[in-house]
């Protein structure tokens, strides 16, 4: 296994940008689809969205070297539009302010909130597009890399988007449970969201692994690292069992029991989804293997 040039800071960024943009999408879905009984979740989702993506972006900047020591160099970051990082810089610098404005609008924070409150619908429409862009872009960022054949597949952005939505929903549900204990009952309605998006994530992950096994020698090597090699205890333990299977069944029970499940288990399922999302990104980065050249 060759060490990747990218480490934990980039992994954290991939995770936080996904969770933050997913939380935005969850908040918009709650505000639009079921406005009366899901206000708390919409508020919670909008509150965490901007800060999560902003902290993720900070990790990205901390991973720079010359660009960190001489921050003015960062003005060059959008010079070459054939680079996904340049597009990422553009998407992030539009999405973060929109997410913060949306949080201010839904939670009526100060005069900015009063002002932004008049434009909730436009913020939701434009913000959702950029949230989708942010979540997908984190996958495209590594999918266009032909130096690592395992990443170089259009399934990668789909997997990252599915994982972004489930981790975003989890982050929003945890914050909703913290800021408003009474919402714990209505949270059961959203357990269905977990059931759906965890299934999609599991399906795409399965496709990625199976197709990688036959795609190229290097992609197969990476996939084997995950399913039977050095990284397999983490893959099966953290990503598949703790990150997908356990929260999936907890969410099914939560949905069926409607509000009767102990709070610890409701929040516990969401924490497991977050652990799974972070582990998924770490394992994808660490299992990346370059082509055999000699």
């Amino acid at each position: 296994m060759q060490e990747s040039a990218w480490g934990w800071l980039i992994i954290t960024y991939l995770f936080l940008a996904g969770a933050g943009s997913g939380a935005f999408l969850a908040a918009v879905a709650c505000d639009l689809l079921a406005p009366d009984w899901s206000k708390a979740l919409a508020k919670a989702g909008s509150l965490v969205s901007g800060p999560l993506v902003a902290i993720g972006t900070l990790c990205l900047v901390l991973d720079l070297e010359a660009g960190l020591w001489e921050p003015w160099r960062q003005i060059y970051l959008a010079n070459n539009l054939s680079s996904m990082i340049a597009w990422g810089v553009i998407v992030l610098s539009i999405f973060i302010p929109i997410a913060l404005l949306y949080a201010a609008a839904l939670n009526e924070i100060g005069f900015i909130g009063k002002f932004a409150n008049k434009y909730v619908r436009p913020l939701e429409i434009v913000g959702s597009l950029f949230a989708l862009g942010t979540a997908t872009y984190t996958g495209v960022l590594i999918a266009v890399v032909n130096g690592v054949p395992f990443w170089n597949t259009p399934l990668m952005p789909v997997l990252f988007l599915a994982s972004a939505i489930s981790t975003g929903l989890a982050a929003a549900m945890i914050v909703a449970a913290i800021i408003d204990v009474a919402t714990i009952k209505t949270l059961s309605n959203f357990a269905l969201g977990h059931v759906i998006f965890l299934s999609v994530e599991a399906l795409v992950l399965m496709l990625l692994v199976f197709m990688s096994l036959t795609r190229s020698t290097e992609a197969a090597y990476s996939a084997n690292l995950l399913i039977s090699g050095l990284l397999s205890p983490y893959f099966w333990g953290l990503v598949v069992i703790l990150g997908i299977v356990v929260p999936f069944f907890l969410s099914v029970i939560e949905y069926l029991e409607y509000g009767e499940m102990p709070k610890a288990l409701v929040v516990g399922a969401d924490i497991l989804v977050l652990i799974g999302g972070m582990s998924l990104r770490a394992l994808i980065v660490f299992s990346g293997t370059p082509p055999q050249i000699i």
């Binding site: 040039a5 010359a66 266009v144 130096g147 370059p290 082509p291 055999q292 050249i293």
Partner: protein, 180 residues
Amino acid sequence: MPRYGMAIDTTKCIGCHSCRVACQNQNGLDYKETFNWIKNRERGVYPSFDKEYIPLQCNHCENAPCQRVCPTGATFTSKEGVVLVNPNTCVGCKYCMEACPYKMRVVDHQLGIVEKCRFCIELVRAGGTPACVSTCPTQVRIFGDLNDPNSEISKFIAQTGALPLRPDLGTSPKIFYKRS
């Protein structure tokens, strides 16, 4: 305008690492840092086997993935077809290192940028050859103009059928290997 490339005859390489030391010397690199490597692998089965030494460095690809993904445009191809890094605009994001399928780019932690073999462009423009070429005691390396059909390198490639490493990766490398 020349289009510089290199031909490497691995059958002549004895793995002495003179090229690495010459490169470090020319580029003022720390002893742990290098722009070229010699990897080896065993070929054949006992009792008919030997060890092949394969000198490696940036391939100066025509279609350089590192240049395509560089957000600041710090990585560029010079008019002579040499892939170079502008030390003043590189931010050290390391995307080029992920994109390079040959994994030939290295972080310079002193300058905070990602560097690579630059075909000793200052020596070449002054009429010389890269340090790794002139220093090689067994003349493994040939440096020259791929556009000139009468250059030593063009003739060598035509005669021996030397090929880049993993041409199937589609980056059109400009280092050609004669391996048997």
